[in-house]
Symmetry: C2
Subunit: 409 residues, 2 copies
């Protein structure tokens, strides 16, 4: 039997999905599992998108252009303009989800051995996509005590070598919910300019900023227009993760040409997804505002509740719909597995994502989990109760253990 | 401005799509362009697929499992069983088109520098996907004079080095339409077994075999079950290229586990595509037979017509819906560009794919083009006439030039 690739072995297991088999087993035992592990919004897809799908009147479901349907790209320019991002349709490339946008950005800009610097915790799959491209992630951990603010730029500069080709940020941030300030973004701009780096900027959560602080796009930063590759996706903002429609926005023509080669090789992004995503741009103010308000409410409710539990700490996320939470446990991954395998509270349990998978620096995130607030408040209340009770009886818990909770075999 | 990747530079331009800008310009000049360049069937998508899309009754268009929807994978096992391919749902992974299946197969099996041997001409994007994986394609050209039969296995053995990890075939073949015989498939099996290679087998055209000769799947070959990675797609067989739904079928558990890591990183294949593709499996006999008969007719008509044109030669393809044609021209790519830029016949012209892009061996395919018979017979008749007239006046033509055709500036 031939040997499989080492690259495959090096690929990280998804911290978001790797415990799914344990969750399936729990469900098979009749336990209700609350999914806080994955950023799958429970809010409705815009009716315009659903109607567009129903109204498809084609006899043949053909390839679309490799760069995506033109009318969709044109309409996206209006969308971006609302956020003061001025781009032309020719600077937008439609991809199969944000995932493909990151992959193609890395492929087009980085060669094997090239390095990118990433503040962490960071979206776990950046590492996976870097491995796909043969690139190396060098990271600087942000600290939960500082609410996951950007680490000092000097720390990043220490990492820069002749192989450093770029920096990757996610703003608002998955998994921390942090929103970079104007000052932080300017520091990033200066670093990018000084060392002539690519700036890969994942901004898929721009609709979800909760503190009144402004969303600052990488494209708002002057003088680095040719360094920026913006990653986007309709998945989260319209609750349509299943469409697999993202975008890569780039003004640098060489990067554009390189990305297009990868696009042409895979022929085209999904046709129906594009039709639905284009229609989603017509989602009305009320739809957007309802979703926004829902997340605002949940955020307040969840973070308040978490910080009331003995030994638990969550900073207040400023955007997106995640938070990284410190738990009073020996090992958060062991705790997450235990929740699914050995615990139930009134026949219910939690599926959380161990945060260690969002760090590449060893030893970080050991007592942290990521939670996505993609459930209704009533369910979040149950989740908080389950967490509280679980921490009382988990063998590796650092809080004292009363006798109220139930354990399964 | 930071430097883009060398890998991007190494990516081949798609021979199928790279002349698209010239075609667009021709259309802008008011010229009707017949697309024989791309395998985009003009036949209808099954009504079951269109109905399934119309009937989607979901409020949220969610992620699907990374390996694809279970009911779809279950139903695919019945489909494969009709072709005597016995696989379980757990051996099927749904991908974003056959493209992603090839990419993930290479990623999971090959490390940078690993080599795969490929008989050519071959589907051009295999080279692109190999570059993405950092792998190296070593190829043996098949000969148009021999109808593109498998070159002698000894030729392949000469290419085998310690870095050789696999062999890639496409059967029925794109671009040649060749269908490997039992004897040839057995030789491939023996080679794979002797050198313990992976056998990547792209069989997306299995429905389209025209000569009564059997379709032999790589999974029909005994003793190499753990070496085979079957690549599949619904694009061609149901005329739904835009759905971007393919599959990777593998019994080797290590390969499966490795592939799944890449699948998890990109989260999920398109949801709506899967729903439509699953419904397409209910396409009735009549639908499949109509399409089949249509291709049979076109094949006969096109190949007969081609071989009647002075200096033109096409072998008779046994499957798929392409043929590689030798033209009496100095350089087929120059001819293809000229057709789009400088020629018109009654305000019409042809878009052909230069075959050199389907070879990696330098100097091969210089006077060959690939044609996809994805147009109706009436249109193919016009195409034949355009080709005949074009060859009379093309400056690099090797046939004598009468005075009937028209040239534009």
């Amino acid at each position: 039997m031939p040997r499989v690739s080492k690259r495959g072995g090096a690929m990280p297991d998804s911290p978001i999905r790797k415990l799914a088999p344990l969750a399936d087993k729990a469900k098979a035992r009749g336990i209700k599992v609350f999914h806080l592990n994955i950023g799958q919004p429970d809010l409705p897809t815009p009716p315009q998108a659903l109607a567009a799908i129903k109204n498809i009147d084609r006899k043949i479901l053909e390839y679309s252009p490799s760069e995506g349907i033109r009318s969709f790209r044109e309409k996206l320019t209006d969308y971006y303009r609302k956020f003061k991002i001025e781009v032309s349709p020719d600077e937008i490339i439609i991809t199969s989800g944000g995932s493909e946008a990151v992959t193609f950005a890395f492929m087009a800009c980085l060669d094997p051995g090239d390095e990118i610097i990433v503040p962490e915790p960071a979206y776990a799959n950046y590492t996976a996509f870097a491995i796909v491209a043969g690139a190396v992630i060098k990271s600087i951990p942000a600290r939960i005590e500082e609410g996951f603010a950007l680490p000092p730029v000097e720390e990043f500069e220490k990492l820069i070598t002749p192989k450093t080709k770029g920096m990757m940020i996610c703003n608002p941030n998955n998994p921390t919910g942090y929103l970079y300030t104007r000052d932080e973004m300017n520091k990033i701009r200066d670093l990018v300019k000084k060392h002539d780096l690519f700036l890969f900027s994942d901004e898929v959560y721009r609709e979800f900023c909760y503190t009144g602080a402004p969303y600052i796009s990488a494209f708002h930063l002057e003088g680095i227009e040719n360094n920026v590759i913006l990653i986007d996706s309709v998945s989260k903002r319209y609750s349509e993760c299943g469409l697999r429609i993202g975008a890569l926005v780039v003004k640098n023509k060489e990067v554009h040409n390189n990305v297009m080669k990868f696009c042409q090789a895979r022929l085209s992004p999904p046709l129906i997804g594009q039709i639905a995503a284009e229609a989603s741009l017509d989602a009305d103010e009320e739809y957007m505002l309802n979703n926004y308000n829902e997340y605002v409410e949940r955020r307040k409710f969840l973070i308040d509740g978490l910080n009331r539990i003995d030994g638990v700490y969550s900073p207040i996320p400023m955007g997106a719909f995640y938070t990284v939470v410190r738990l009073p446990v020996d090992d958060a991954e062991r705790f997450c597995k235990w929740l699914l395998s050995d615990f139930q509270y009134h026949n219910q349990t939690l599926f959380l994502a161990p945060a260690s998978g969002f760090y590449t620096t060893p030893g970080y995130g050991v007592d942290e989990v990521r939670m996505a607030y993609v459930l209704q408040k009533e369910d979040l209340a149950v989740c908080l109760k389950i967490l509280e009770e679980a921490l009382k009886v988990y063998p590796g818990s650092k809080v004292k253990k009363p006798h109220t909770a139930q354990m399964t075999a």
